[in-house]
């Protein structure tokens, strides 16, 4: 059940109305049932995986408190890591590893062939396994008390607004909110609906319209001129941003109506002045997850410079691989890691890490520079193979300017993209719902009208599922 379908537009009000009608003590049952129903709409069988992840996370937490000696706790944590990462490996990486091993066997003429698995990647598996893992690691280190109520724990793992593509929430932040008794408030309703409206606009009007154009160019790049390729690359930057940002905003809005505040996953990342800041503003819940559960345990920046650089590279490479089982994701992550390190070195050597006033000329120039770098690196993220990415770069820099296929971009796509960019610039360090709340009623309703119009009349009509569902 996608957020941008009629099914969800019916599902959400039914859940919300029932949520506020029933007594507080039954609400977790409703939300858990709704979340499982939501997940089963993709494939019923994969619910089994969430249940395994939930039970392992729950039991290991409870048992860690029951057997607090270091050895038992460590064993339980290892068991938990094995099950959750094992699920992730099996469903996400098995075929990738097997394919590469088979290639290696071919080269070495070993005469072995690992059979490949034929199944679809369970939606959201990377998200809910990471959520379960963060809880278990926190319990292991004593930062979090084990949850005794299986129902609430199951709800924490599967809460439907953020189940399939985040934000990846921490137990300490989400669980108390799920347990709290929320009253229906007008402010939560209006703020939630504002976020959903904005999320639908950026997903359906921006991302889905750009997706068709980007897909066309990436399907036959040789048919297009360098300028068209450049257009496609830039459009992909906006497509992936609006696709994932749109999902996150709808998720936050949906939870907000029920009084649950999910963390912000994006803060105008394309206005970041450097790569480090970009990662503080892009997919924040994943960045902070890697920071807390990988970067810090590796020593963070409290180590020698060389070691720090290696830590950074590890984090980015792992982050790349988290996104997908393909060498292109690994290269994508590694490139970000290398650039992050280089930028830090250059900035500290030349003392360039100054604060710049928002919207100042320096801010704008640095943002354009960061956007340019990120846009080029996205080519690896979008390409199906390393060869495809290299071909895109070759065509970009050595194209003849001739086209075999005319690239037609409807005027309304440019119009709405401009509206989105302007809105995003205005939203620097602000959130759409609170920004909108400060606008007088008439202006607010004009904005609502414009967004409703764009969603109904100019939404992309092809079916492009959210990009991050595949991760």
């Amino acid at each position: 059940m996608l957020f941008n379908t009629i099914e969800y537009l019916l599902f959400l009000p039914i859940v919300v109305i029932t949520y506020f009608l029933i007594p507080h003590k039954f609400r977790w049952i409703l939300l858990l049932a709704a979340s499982y129903f939501f997940y089963m709409s993709w494939k019923v069988e994969y619910l089994f995986l969430i249940i395994i992840s939930t039970l392992v996370g729950y039991l290991s937490g409870v048992l860690m408190e029951k057997y607090p000696d270091k050895k038992s706790k460590l064993l339980l944590l290892i068991f938990n890591l094995c099950v959750n990462l094992g699920l992730l490996f099996f469903f996400k990486y098995f075929n990738f590893v097997a394919e590469n091993l088979n290639l290696l066997f071919d080269k070495l003429e070993v005469g072995r062939n690992i059979p490949l698995m034929n199944f679809l990647l369970p939606v959201g598996i990377s998200f809910y396994t990471f959520q379960t893992l963060s809880y278990s690691i926190d319990v292991y280190f004593g930062r979090q008390k084990a949850e005794k109520h299986l129902g609430y724990f199951a709800l924490y793992v599967s809460f439907f607004p953020q189940l399939v593509a985040g934000p990846i929430e921490r137990f300490s932040r989400l669980a108390p909110q799920l347990k709290a008794k929320h009253e229906f408030t007008y402010d939560n309703l209006s703020n939630g609906l504002r976020l959903i409206l904005y999320g639908l606009f950026i997903k359906m009007v921006i991302a889905d319209n750009l997706a068709g154009i980007v897909d066309k160019i990436y399907a036959n790049p040789n048919n297009y001129s360098s300028f068209d390729i450049l257009t496609g690359i830039i459009f992909y930057s906006f497509q992936i941003y609006s696709d994932f940002y749109g999902y996150s905003v709808i998720a936050i809005g949906s939870a907000k109506i029920m009084g649950v505040n999910l963390m912000n996953n994006f803060k105008t990342p394309y206005l970041a002045k450097n790569i480090a800041e970009f990662w503080q503003r892009w997919h924040i819940s994943l960045s902070t997850w890697f920071r807390d559960y990988l970067y810090y345990p590796l020593g963070g920046n409290r180590v020698k410079k060389n070691r720090w650089a290696i830590n950074i590279l590890i984090v980015f490479v792992v982050s790349g691989i988290w996104h997908g089982a393909n060498w292109t994701f690994l290269i994508w992550g590694a490139l970000f890691g290398i650039l992050y390190i280089l930028e830090k070195i250059v900035n500290s050597t030349f003392n360039l890490e100054k604060e710049h006033k928002p919207y100042s000329l320096w801010h704008i120039l640095l943002s354009i520079k960061t956007f340019g770098i990120v846009t080029l690196i996205w080519v690896f993220f979008r390409s199906q193979s390393f060869g495809e990415a290299i071909n895109i770069f070759t065509l970009l820099f050595s194209g003849t300017g001739q086209t075999a296929e005319a690239l037609t971009i409807p005027g309304y796509v440019w119009f709405w993209l401009t509206i989105f960019i302007v809105t995003d610039i205005l939203l620097y360090n602000k959130r759409f719902d609170s920004w909108l709340a400060n606008i007088p009623l008439v202006g607010r309703w004009v904005i609502y009208g414009i967004f409703i119009f764009s969603i109904i009349v100019h939404a992309g009509v092809e079916n492009f599922p959210f990009i991050y569902f595949q991760f």
């Binding site: 009629i6 007008y186 296929e405 609502y448 119009f453």
Partner: protein, 500 residues
């Protein structure tokens, strides 16, 4: 709080009304042309129609060596020359699509009789859950009987039968498994999966006893296509046809269901009597079911012989000329029920034709590569054929040259209107010929030697002397070949075979 919410609901309603007005006035029609141009098939029907034939590709498919390549609907029209017969033809469509198209026929249209294609295969799981269903359903959303803005809302929020290829595959495979055969005699297979598995493993043997894999694959395909039994209570197609019956009653139309011919000869040869039993049983079920509901059903099931099926290695209802004429004749006999006074015996005796003309607008003129027809530009009427930028071949005359007496075919005169965006191309006028007794013939004449004007309609003439060596060609093809990215539009394409 309630007051506040009610006030906001009021504001929302006003907003929606304003958006609806703007959408209807300035956006709806262009959206319809972009996403639901299927409606033009209905809009093209004039108000003075007497008979409308609605069907899929079976109506318009032809074989290269057909002397008369016109569709079944045009042959039906030959039997009723004083009545206006039109067609609505949408490839891959079925009753679920017809019902919406028919509902869009304006109420002031004079049409008296509707002939609806009843395709047996459209009742099987592979067609019901076909990949083509998603784009077909999408193309209908904007023409549903709801307010335009609501239809656009349904389109934006995917409010139609939208499924991925793998989901569709799962659906029909599930159906293959769950539908158990119920025959009045002992049958060794429980369902189509078992039957198909058995055929794939046992195979069809050739004359020396080796497995003929091509024939085996075809036999398996026949099993998967025809190995089903229609359940009139649950098959969604039945419901679609029932809705058409209801609509016809409401609009006062005479209704004919044209049960198309299937290649039962091949089915018997490849698979055997069990499959034939199922095909006949299904045909009888449909015939009885709809006749009991007051519809005239024309049963063509076994009316077309194997040789007349164009696709010999797949299951389709694409007939060569004789097959199309047979179906048309049977349908016309049924139409006598209401139009007896207008019936004449059609003269199908013409053995050859020497003058061919295609203005891209006449639906009864069927040439090859008709998918290149576009409304982007036109010299006459509204349409032309676009070549280049992906369309290498223009509309193509295909004809069995051998049927024209030698004494009448010395020369071929070609005349067409042409519009090129630039002369940066190497497009050619091509004539090719094939035959059993000679090597394939090909001649290409560069257009840019004769045409220099751009963005302007220009007349192009050429005379080609017919070499003696190709006079007995089974098939000649004449077309513009443009493999470049430059677009060239062709209109009013005339080919005359002459004796000078």
């Amino acid at each position: 709080m309630c007051k506040k919410i009610l006030f906001k609901i009021f504001l929302l309603s006003v907003t929606v009304v304003i958006i609806s007005f703007i959408y209807n006035k300035w956006f709806y029609e262009s959206d319809v042309q972009k996403h639901s141009d299927i409606i033009n098939l209905v809009r093209d029907i004039p108000n003075d129609a007497d008979i409308i034939y609605i069907g899929e590709s079976s109506n318009i498919s032809f074989r290269g060596d057909d002397i008369d390549k016109r569709p079944i609907s045009a042959f039906v029209g030959d039997f009723f020359p004083k009545l206006n017969t039109y067609d609505i033809t949408k490839p891959a469509s079925h009753a679920g699509i017809y019902k919406i198209l028919l509902a869009n026929i304006p109420t002031d249209n004079q049409v008296k009789t509707i002939i609806v294609t009843l395709n047996l295969r459209s009742f099987n799981a592979t067609w019901i859950y076909s990949n083509l269903e998603t784009p077909l359903q999408k193309s209908l959303v904007l023409i549903k009987p709801y307010p335009p803005l609501f239809n656009r809302f349904l389109l934006s929020f995917k409010g139609y039968d939208i499924k991925s290829e793998s989901e569709r595959e799962q659906q029909y495979k599930k159906k293959w498994k769950s539908d158990k055969f119920k025959l009045p005699y002992e049958f060794q297979f429980k369902n189509v999966i078992e039957w198909d598995y058995w055929m794939a493993n046992s195979g069809i043997k050739d004359s020396v006893g080796n497995i003929d894999y091509k024939q085996t694959e075809l036999a398996c395909h026949y099993i998967k296509t025809y190995g089903f039994q229609i359940d009139t209570t649950n098959n969604p197609r039945i419901e679609d046809f029932n809705k058409i019956i209801k609509l016809a009653k409401k609009r006062g139309w005479n209704l004919v269901f044209n049960l198309l011919a299937e290649n039962t000869e091949k089915a018997k040869k490849l698979v055997g009597d069990d499959l034939i039993y199922m095909i006949n049983e299904n045909a009888n079920i449909l015939e009885n079911y709809f006749q009991n509901r007051g519809v005239r059903v024309v049963n063509n099931l076994n009316a077309v012989e194997d040789e007349q099926f164009i696709d010999q290695d797949w299951t389709t209802e694409h007939y060569a000329e004789k097959g199309r004429k047979t179906v048309a004749k049977n349908v016309s006999e049924a139409l006598k029920t209401w139009h007896n006074d207008f019936y004449v015996e059609a003269d199908f005796s013409a053995t050859y034709q020497t003058d061919f003309f295609n203005n891209c607008d006449n639906k009864n003129v069927i040439w090859g590569q008709m998918h290149t027809i576009t409304t982007e530009l036109a010299y006459s009427g509204k349409k032309s054929s676009r070549t280049g930028a992906g369309n290498d071949f223009s509309i193509t005359l295909e004809y069995p040259l051998k049927v024209i007496p030698d004494s009448l075919k010395q020369n071929i005169a070609i005349e067409l209107m042409l519009n090129q965006a630039s002369s940066n191309h190497n497009a050619k006028l091509v004539m090719e010929a094939y035959g059993t007794d000679f090597r394939p013939y090909w001649i290409g004449l560069d257009l840019k030697n004769d045409i220099h004007e751009v963005n302007k309609w220009v007349k192009y003439n050429k005379n080609i002397t017919i070499p003696d060596s190709i006079k007995q060609a089974d098939l000649i093809k004449i077309y513009i070949f443009n493999p470049t990215r430059e677009k060239i539009y062709i209109d009013d394409f005339r080919v005359v075979v002459e004796n000078r």
